[in-house]
C-alpha cells in the first residue's frame, strides 16, 4: 500500500492538569478517509490540532510523508500549507469575498500571481459548487455555503491531507446534506482526509477505518461494518446507540 501520508506515533497532550491525549497512534494511507469519533472531551479536536501543529503535542511523533514534524528544524508554515484544515465554525476571513478567501493562501503562501491564484480558486469553488457565489462575503452566505467555501479554501492549496474538525456540527440540519455531499465528492475523487464527525452515514459511505476516541486513547478501531455490526466495547455500543437515537431512525426516538 506504500508509505503512509500521516503517521501519528504515541502522542500525548495535556493542558495544565488535564490530560487530553494519552498515547494515540495511527497511520493514514494515500487516498484514505479516516473517521474519528467519540464523546466530547475525548480529544478529537486536539488530535487534529496536534497533527497540523497548531497545538504541538507534548510527547510523541507525527510524520508527514516520513518527515518528523516534531523536529525543531522543520518549517512548520510550509508543513501547514500541505495540511488543509476545515473548521467547525468555518473561520472564513470575514473581510474577504469567497473567492479571495480561497485565493489568499495561494497568493501569500504559495506565491502564485493574482491571475493564477484567482483561476485556481475559482476551480476550487466550482468543485464545491460555490463558483456563482464567488463575489459574496461570508456574512452573505448560509452556514452550509460558508463551510463549502472553507472546504474549497483547504482544497485549493492542494494539500497532502485535509483535516475536518466536526465540519457539520455547527450547521442547521437542512444544511448538513450539501456539505456532506461535497465531502463525499472530494473523498471519492481521491482526497486523503481525516474527518472528525458523528455523521455515521458519511463514515459508512467513504471511510476505510473508523477510530473511536475516548479519554484520550483509541478505545476501538475498525471498518465501518465492524462498528455497525459487532462493536466490542460497551462504551462504544452505548455511544453508537445514543448517536442512533439522535440521528438515526424515528422508531428509536419514539420509544423514548
Amino acid at each position: 500500500m506504500g508509505k503512509p501520508v500521516i503517521s501519528v506515533v504515541d502522542i500525548w497532550k495535556s493542558y495544565n492538569d488535564l490530560n487530553v491525549l494519552n498515547g494515540v497512534s495511527f497511520e493514514l494511507m494515500e487516498k484514505e478517509v479516516k473517521v474519528i469519533f467519540g464523546p466530547s472531551g475525548s480529544g478529537k479536536s486536539t488530535l487534529l490540532r496536534c497533527i497540523n501543529m497548531l497545538n504541538p503535542p507534548d510527547k510523541g511523533e507525527i510524520y508527514l510523508r516520513g518527515q518528523n514534524l516534531m523536529d525543531s528544524d522543520v518549517d512548520l508554515n510550509k508543513i501547514r500549507s500541505r495540511i488543509g484544515m476545515v473548521f467547525q465554525h468555518f473561520n472564513l476571513f470575514t473581510h474577504l469575498k469567497a473567492i479571495d478567501n480561497v485565493s489568499i493562501g495561494l497568493r501569500r503562501v504559495k506565491g502564485l500571481s493574482k491571475e493564477e491564484a484567482h483561476e485556481k480558486a475559482l476551480m476550487a469553488l466550482k468543485s464545491v459548487k460555490m463558483a456563482e457565489w464567488a463575489d459574496h462575503y461570508p456574512a452573505q452566505l448560509s452556514g452550509g455555503q460558508q463551510q463549502r467555501v472553507g472546504i474549497a479554501r483547504a482544497l485549493a492549496m492542494e494539500p497532502d491531507v485535509i483535516l475536518f474538525d466536526e465540519p457539520t456540527s455547527a450547521l442547521d440540519p437542512e444544511l448538513i446534506g450539501e456539505v456532506l455531499q461535497v465531502m463525499l465528492d472530494i473523498a471519492k475523487s481521491g482526497t486523503t482526509m481525516i474527518v472528525v464527525t458523528h455523521e455515521l452515514g458519511f463514515a459508512k459511505a467513504v471511510s476505510s477505518e473508523m477510530i473511536f476516541l475516548g479519554e484520550g486513547v483509541i478505545l476501538e478501531r475498525g471498518t465501518p461494518e465492524h462498528f455497525f455490526t459487532s462493536p466490542e466495547s460497551e462504551r462504544v455500543k452505548k455511544f453508537l446507540k445514543q448517536l442512533e437515537v439522535l440521528y438515526g431512525s424515528h422508531e428509536e426516538l419514539l420509544k423514548l
Binding site: 497540523n52 497548531l54 508554515n77 510550509k78 508543513i79 501547514r80 500549507s81 500541505r82 495540511i83 488543509g84 484544515m85 473548521f87 465554525h89 473561520n91 472564513l92 476571513f93 470575514t94 473581510h95 489568499i104 493562501g105 501569500r108 503562501v109 462575503y137 461570508p138 456574512a139 479554501r153 492549496m157
Partner: protein, 256 residues
Amino acid sequence: MKRCFLLITIILLIGIAIISLGIISYIFFPFLFNIFIYILVSGLPHTLLLTSIGLLGGFVLGISLALMRIYGSKELQWISSGYEKLFRGVPLLVLIYIFAFGIPGIFWFISPLDRSLAAVMLALALRSGAYQSQIFRGAILSVNLGQMEAARSLGMNQIQGFRHIVMPQALRLAIPSWSNEYAVVIKDTSFASGIGILELTKSAYRISVIYREIPELWTLSMVFLTIIYFLFTYPITRFFGERQTKKLKDLGMGGG
C-alpha cells in the same frame, strides 16, 4: 470608489455650507462676513495642520503601542501600558506647556518661529497615541481568534496572518472609534491658542479683542467659531461612524 465619492460629497457640502454662510453674511452683514472670513482664513490652516499631524503621529504611535501590548514581551507590555496611563493622566495644556517651555532646547533643530507649533504637534500626537492605542488594541482583540488560526493553518506565519487577515479587520473595526478620536483632536487643537498659535480659537479670540468697544462681538465670534468646529466634526464623525458601523454589521464583524 463609492466611499471616496461620498467623502468628496461631504467635503463639498462642508464647503458649500461655509460659502453660503459667508454669502448670507456678506449680503446682509458685510462686517460679520469679514469676521467670519478672518477667523476661517487666519485660523483654519493651523487647526487642520495640527489635527492631521496629531492624528497621524498618534496613529503610528497608537498602532505600535497596541502591538507591543498584545504581542510584545512582558517588558514591552509594561512600557506600553505605562505610557497609556501616563499620557491619559496629564492634561493636554500641561503637555503643551511642558514641550513649549518646560524642556528648553527640545526643538533645537526647528526654526524658533515654528517651535511652539512643534510643541503642540508633539503633545497632540503623544496624547492621541495613548488613546489610539486603546482603540487599536480593542479592535485587534475583537478579531476572532479563529481568523488567525485559519490563517496559520493555510501556512501563513504570524506576521502574514496579522498583516493580511487580522490587521485589515482590526482597522475596519477601529474606524468608528477613530473618527471619534478625530473629533477629539480637532477640538483639542484649540489648546494651542494657550501658547499663542493662531488657530481657529485664537483668531476668534483675537478679533474680539481688537474690537473691544463692541462686547457683542465676543458672542458673535464665538458663535462663528462653534459653527466652524461643528462643520468640521459632525459630518465626518457621522459619515465614518454610522456608515462604517452599518458596513461592519453587513460583514458580520464587531458583534452588536
